[in-house]
């Protein structure tokens, strides 16, 4: 395969480049018969227009940058996928850049992306805490997952507080009253927010946390196991555990299983993240909260498109999470 240009096509069709261009782009001022000839010539040479040249003149590159710090992580990928399919793949392609949490690498990538004249930028954080704004750029930017600290930017985030509330609400509806919350690193706003949502819902019901307080620790199975042992020790009549992540939930389930405490009949367990390799394969399969990240990605793409068309928005938009019920929770009795 070689590389035909529009001029080659025009020559083969016996017309000028201008006409060839119009023919291929569906412009009306070209006779049907001529158009047909051009189209055939283009096919014959397997012509595909040089997007660089197009971008040069339309001032639109048809590309966007996705700047992440969480490539190995599991948050940016679903967002990326959502974004990818919200932009028609023929219209817009996405440049993926992973800054690996390094600010200077991020600057570097940013520079490269601007140099490539991306039409917009999606910035995905590694954790849901606010991050510093990229400042004023010549292209629109959407922050996803981790919000920008500048209210003039547009940030799209998941509703962690609502997630905590939803989780506890589900447990209450299952008839549970002695609900504990084991979660991860307290320096994560996600941990704080989920806990707050959980406690709020309990309070509404006139309940307090089993175990007396939130069990903060680490985002790991090991912590889930350790905390569960301590919890059972201190509060053996607990009838539900809300884990701050699916990893933690796996640890919780593991210990309950070891102690021959049946899930869900005696203790219900709910996780967070819907990380399917963990949630689907656990014993029993884990009820959990899905962050709906593909949706977030799709919306990010839409907002970015809107901004590119000239109608930017700003502020923080919060998106609801979704309860995924599996078998680790069930009504009492």
């Amino acid at each position: 395969m070689s590389r035909a240009t529009l001029r080659d096509v025009a020559k083969l069709a016996g017309v000028s480049v201008a006409t060839a261009s119009k023919a291929l782009n569906g412009q009306p001022q070209v006779r049907a018969e001529t158009r047909e000839r051009v189209v055939r010539a283009a096919e014959q040479l397997s012509f595909s227009p040089n997007t660089l040249a197009q971008g040069l003149i339309t001032q639109r590159s048809g590309t966007v940058g996705l700047l992440t710090s969480d490539l190995e992580g599991r948050f940016s990928i679903p967002i990326l996928m959502g974004a990818e399919d919200a932009f028609g793949s023929d219209q817009t392609s996405v440049f993926l850049c992973d800054a690996r949490g390094d600010t200077i690498r991020e600057k570097h990538h940013l520079r490269a992306l601007l140099s490539r004249r991306v039409d917009g930028l999606i910035v995905v954080g590694a954790r849901p805490d606010t991050r510093t704004s990229l400042g004023d750029l010549p292209v629109p930017v959407v922050y996803a997952y981790a919000p920008s600290d500048d209210p003039a930017d547009l940030s799209l985030i998941t509703d962690n507080t609502g997630g905590g509330r939803t989780a506890v609400d589900h447990l209450i509806r299952c008839g549970r009253r002695r609900i504990a919350h084991i979660t991860g690193d307290p320096s994560y706003s996600a941990a704080q927010d989920r806990a707050r949502g959980a406690v709020d819902r309990l309070t509404e019901e006139g309940l307090t946390l089993a175990g007396g307080e939130v069990w903060f620790g680490m985002w790991s199975e090991a912590w889930g196991r350790g905390a569960t042992r301590m919890l059972l020790d201190r509060c053996p009549d607990v009838d539900a555990i809300f884990a701050g992540s699916d990893e933690i939930a796996r640890g919780v389930l593991d210990v309950l299983h070891e102690e021959r405490i049946d899930v869900p009949s005696r203790v219900a367990v709910i996780g967070f993240d819907n990380w399917s390799v963990l949630a689907v394969n656990s014993r029993p399969p884990l009820t959990t909260i899905d962050l709906n990240l593909e949706h977030l990605g799709r919306i990010a793409a839409q907002r970015l498109s809107a901004a590119m068309e000239g109608t930017p928005t700003s502020g923080v938009e919060t998106f609801p999470v979704r309860l995924i019920t599996r078998e680790s929770t069930a009504p009492l009795r």
Copy 2:
């Protein structure tokens, strides 16, 4: 921030665009003093060259496409990361496209990428079986993880056979003699290859598989659990289990734990993939085989660069895997 062009810079510096270009690109035929003036002007306007225009004339877009079918999966990401850092991020940016296993979507993406004049293409499969070649393209292509069926293409794959051999070799060195192999879907060449490597190594040692044959099934924890129960039933004196994936290994560990069979003192367990969320957090942490995919990605980028520079290669290159020892294996006694 606005968008300065080279002309603006030139005007501000009081030189022609030609001179400005040469000054910024380190061409020798510019007086030092002039260069300095241009550079300052460029900084002042925060000029960044339009890569589209550069690409148009140099016939190099400085981009490559990464075409995958496994974005949600865990194979393409490490490869992508390896590739990303092998290309200097300032030299080359990567377009990420996920075909989601759909051939027509793949064609679509391919068309778009060629239209964007990518300088090269990396194709990553979702599973390690051979895939049909994309055929003759105007840019070099490297197939990674899943090899192309056309020997004229260059394919980079992991050594699954060697991995199976390495796993069993390690178990043998731990003094194990009654080694079973529980693995996934037999339609995957990965499953077949790993099994073959395992059996070969056993044969060299004059051993046969505990349980009589390879236990093919599914790539899931549940199958790992089920198979282990059957295995213990039929062959209670097994002293090592080689699991075809870390997921399966988790299932294996789970049942052994349930049956109060100590790992590694009575039965050693080794997994495959080094999927860290599974392997690191298991009880005990899992010895496993790492596919070294970042390395594969880096090599893919290097081979692609070489091909872009005019020295293409072809055939299938196989890359060694790596044993990661944790605590689920140990010498007997």
